[in-house]
Amino acid sequence: MIADPPIGEDDLNAFVDGRLAPERHALVGRFLADNSSLGERVAADIAARNGLRESLQFKAAEPIPARLRIANLAVERRRAPRRWLQVAAAIVLVALGGIGGWFAHGRFGATSIAQGEAPIAAEALRAHRLYTVETVHPVEVAAAQEAHLVQWLSRRLNHPLKAPDLSAQGFHLMGGRLLPASSGAAAQLMYQDDGGARLTVYLRADDGEGGTAFRFVKGQNASAFFWTEDGFGYAIAAQLDRPQLLTIAESVYQQSKSSVPTQRPPPT
């Protein structure tokens, strides 16, 4: 018969948490009965633990808010092409640099996105900062002349453009302007919501040298999602948090895909 090992700190913690095997629990209980001051402290710890559990129980008993349902979170992800998943994963790795033992170390190099490495994002944020504060001349050509605006910018950028419709996200087109860019010309389309918040879509030719992946960058006053598709760069800038901006960027992405003229056979 081997003697029971002496009582340790781990036994006392496990006693408070009710995690000891029955025999050990009884043994520690007898030990505490013989050491009344320690026994009182452990009893107070148990009472404090129960008090904390009871204090917080109401929160776990609440119904889960709709926005936290996995199905709802997943819809945003499924609507997008798979590339978005990889990019989102890259963002996670940046954000979770220190998650330690859960991820294989070394396999995933977390690269932080500096604005300097992504000229289009830097340009878009600069233009956003400069023109969104304008009250008198926020745009060069107003949305009232949308057809003219789009035709003019398409010609100057040598790329067929379309002003994305963001009314589903509460933003309506104010107009746009032509800007000088590192690659020649760029276009800025400005949108505003009913609360006066402004959002800009920045467009220009992009050889994809800075990478073509879908990425997020947080500037001082605004954030941007940006990507390159078929030699053309897009950046969506606004003073919004990431999930909100993501929804809008996804919408712009989808609309830019569908604006590429494709000859579809009529439905039969």
């Binding site: 913690n13 107070a44 559990r53 199905a71 979170l73 996670v92 220190g98 998650i99």
Partner: protein
Amino acid sequence: MDDVAAILEPHIPGLRRYAWALMRDREAADDLVQDCLEHALAGWHMRRRDGNPKAWLFTILRNLYVSELRRRSRRGTRADVEEADSAEALHDSDPERRLIVRDCLAALDTLTEEQKSILLLVGVEDLSYADMAKALDIPIGTVMSRLSRARERFRQAIETGSAPQLRRVK
């Protein structure tokens, strides 16, 4: 996606409880949980198959919270909860139980982030000591001594009523 939901959703009530205990603000806490779930979905294929999804989720949430604290302290704003608000928890009609809730939450506020997390994750969310060691990236013996220390501080804060809840102006 249904199987992912079946694995993740049972943990959402606990994640919301832990986040609320840390943030003490309904919307901010749910923002943190949403952030945590988005990260979990994005990193789903990178999780350890043999690992425990519950411990993985709580670890993600805590890491997000800790990096938010660091960001705030870099910006010079107070790094702990600015206005710990327990009003949401004080719903019980029994005044004595309300007192217990108030004392417990006020005592929790006197602890460091790590002490709070150990008390909450072990004592409320029932994480194993081994998972706690992984979450904090420390040996299990260190978990034990820090848990003892956190319990001692928590117990003393309740006993002496040193928690400064009376100084708060509503």
